[in-house]
């Protein structure tokens, strides 16, 4: 009789092990400190941070992102040329190759490609970050409400998101942006956010439903906790990790989407500077002068890649079960 439950419970314990393994696994790099580290109170977030610091993938991605963020906040640190000043472009200098004066060469109008690439980062960051925050807040909050409430509210919200899922994203963005006479940063953010929030909603809802059925939520109900307390103190902190991961990965894709829309002519317009616009302007003369197309494309790829790598690393650190 005493034996019969043992295999089952032993199994259940193993299934939960990863959360404990992680705390010791994270100190793998600093395992020699062993004991001392064991005493220190460690939340899952600080464990995740310990884990992340030891990952080359994370360090590399974080470095690229920091450079990129610095570029968008303080472009003058990187170049003394102001590409918004028409005087810096000399038509006579058009389509020059790489040189000491023009690191990435010059474009069709004789403007410095390096300066334009640096100044183009700001629009990418503003659009990427704003869209990410907007979708995470809106989709995440609706997902929390739908997952927690369940029933008719959940069904209604879920059907609405399915309608949005049915819209092809490129076509949808083209349609939304073509309504506005001129594209700017905020119309692009709006178009991307409208099409991207259902994804965040789904992930948040699934995470909330998983967290809701956990024993500690039942324990809180048994104590007489109110619905807001259960939602924000017990469910939200345990459901937020996947939303953060997806938001990080999405940030990269939003940057790419902005470039795509600007390339198609519905995103940003001159005199705004954007990597997508630069690629569009340079494509006709690509064979004569590949630089003006390749350099913004390289920065775009690097940025998108960095955010996707960051998202992967964060996911691994927060959810060791996926390893």
């Amino acid at each position: 009789m005493g034996d019969s439950p043992a295999p089952a419970t032993g199994h259940a314990r193993h299934a939960r092990r990863p959360s404990r393994f992680r705390s010791s696994g994270s100190s793998r790099g600093s395992g020699r400190r062993g004991r001392a580290q064991e005493i220190r109170p460690a939340s899952l977030w600080s464990d995740a941070w310990q884990d992340l610091r030891g990952r080359p993938l994370f360090v590399g991605a974080a470095f690229i992102i920091i450079v990129f963020l610095a570029m968008s906040a303080f472009p003058r640190l990187f170049t003394s040329v102001n590409p918004f000043d028409a005087a810096t472009c000399q038509l006579s200098d058009a389509r020059q190759g790489v040189s000491g004066l023009h690191w990435f060469g010059t474009d069709n109008l004789g403007c410095d490609v390096y300066a334009r690439v640096v100044y183009g980062a700001r629009n990418s960051v503003v659009i990427g970050v704003t869209t990410t925050v907007a979708t995470a807040l809106f989709g995440g909050l609706l997902g929390l409400v739908a997952g927690f409430t369940g029933g008719a509210v959940d069904t209604l919200f879920s059907r609405i998101t399915e309608i949005f899922f049915a819209i092809p994203s490129v076509l949808g963005a083209l349609l939304i942006l073509s309504v506005f006479r001129t594209g700017n940063v905020w119309t692009v953010v709006l178009a991307l956010a409208v099409l991207a929030w259902p994804m965040t909603f789904r992930i948040a809802r699934a995470a909330v439903i998983t967290a809701k059925s956990q024993d500690y939520v039942l324990a809180a109900v048994g104590l007489g906790a109110s619905a807001p307390r259960i939602m924000f103190r017990h469910i939200l902190p345990n459901a937020v990790a996947p939303v953060i991961v997806v938001a990080t990965i999405n940030l990269g894709t939003f940057v790419a989407a902005e470039a795509g829309l600007s390339f198609l002519g519905v995103g940003l317009n001159s005199p705004d500077i954007s990597w997508g616009l630069m690629i569009a302007d340079a494509r006709r003369r690509f064979l004569e002068a590949p630089g003006p197309l390749l350099f913004p494309a390289l920065f775009l790829s690097l940025t998108v890649l960095a955010f996707i790598m960051l998202g992967d690393a964060v996911r691994d650190a927060l959810d060791p079960k996926l390893r």
């Binding site: 005493g2 939960r16 460690a42 899952l44 048994g222 902190p237």
Partner: protein, 329 residues
């Protein structure tokens, strides 16, 4: 440990049916899982009632009904005369102060994002009238000490503790509001045997100190025998035998109890030779369509026609001192 005084928990004809539905758009009920089907008992102050039964017999549903995590289909659960099964809002919150739960799995019953101090102190945040704000830190430290944990570890997180220590945290949380009743739903079955003994002894010590009454649910008969004053045996949503632990263990009258007890390992090689094991045939029937009459008749070696026709009631029968639900007791 002796049970004293008036009953503080009265359960009458408690029934919980989970509906089985069919159809995606227009749901219609095609049947019901009868998880708990007419259970009655009472619990006195400072007493431990052990509930045993195999998986799926409705033990955990019973625990959820007692703590109002599930609403019964019918029947009543009264705590000091106050009905909890149908209470709502502020009234329910008040009644809950007096009945708390210790859960089965210490790995999922503690919020991984909260420190142990916050987990144990949460009952005070939910019921701020219990302990004034300034004293809460001290109260939490006391609780941790009472359950045998180092109060300096209050700012650690659950994953930094072992299974047994986590279960102590769960017990401290259950104790915080000083309830008179604690429902323990398999509180030791997820722990190693050596740790089980520590946790069971802790529960007994707390009972002596604070006069708590336990409803102790488990499938391990030895643990139940160790801690219980009275034992109830459940089969397929019904209580088939209920009585003092010595009565049940030494003179079981229901065939199901006899079969269960015959499976307990005996540490004495001499006795092992003489005793007879009763091996039950088949599996328990589906709780969606239980057999007519006595629910155990499909696996019972004593079954006669009367068992299919008449349902045996849980009552004290001639020749025994405790209640059982068998025509041939």
């Amino acid at each position: 440990m002796a049970a004293t005084g008036e009953p503080i928990l009265e359960v009458r004809h408690l029934v919980k049916h989970f509906p089985l539905t069919q159809g995606a758009l227009f749901r219609k009920q095609v049947g019901a899982i009868r998880a708990v089907d007419g259970v009655s008992f009472e619990l006195r102050r400072g007493e431990t009632l052990g509930i045993v039964g195999e998986s799926g017999c409705g033990k955990s549903t019973l625990a959820k009904l007692l703590t109002a995590l599930e609403r019964p289909t019918s029947g009543s659960v009264r705590i000091r005369g106050r009905e909890i099964a149908h209470a709502r809002g502020a009234e329910l919150k008040q009644v809950r102060r007096n009945i708390q739960m210790v859960m089965q799995d210490p790995y999922t019953s503690l919020n991984p994002r909260m420190t142990v101090g916050d987990i144990v102190g949460e009952p005070y945040e939910i019921h701020p009238e219990v302990v004034p704000k300034g004293d809460r830190r001290r109260a939490v430290r006391e609780l941790l000490e009472v359950v045998g944990l180092n109060p300096d570890h209050a700012d650690r997180y659950p994953h930094q503790f072992s299974g047994g220590q986590r279960q102590r945290v769960g017990i401290a949380r259950g104790l915080a509001l000083r309830p008179e009743i604690i429902i323990c739903d398999e509180p030791v079955s997820a722990l190693d045997v050596s740790i089980q003994a520590q946790v069971v002894n802790l529960l007994e010590r707390l009972q002596d100190e604070f006069g708590i009454a336990y409803v102790f649910i488990a499938h391990d008969l030895s643990v139940i025998r160790h801690i219980s004053d009275r034992v109830g045996v459940m089969y397929l949503g019904k209580m088939v035998e209920l009585g003092a632990d010595a009565e049940i263990y030494d003179r079981p009258v229901h065939p199901y109890t006899q079969a269960l007890l015959s499976a307990v390992p005996v540490p004495d090689p001499e006795g092992r030779e003489r005793r007879q094991r009763i091996i039950l045939q088949g599996d328990p029937p589906s709780p969606a369509s239980p057999p007519s009459g006595c629910r155990f008749r499909t696996r019972c070696w004593k079954a006669r026609e009367v068992c299919a026709e008449q349902e045996p009631l849980l009552q004290i029968r001639p020749g025994t001192a405790h209640a059982s639900a068998c025509h041939f007791a």
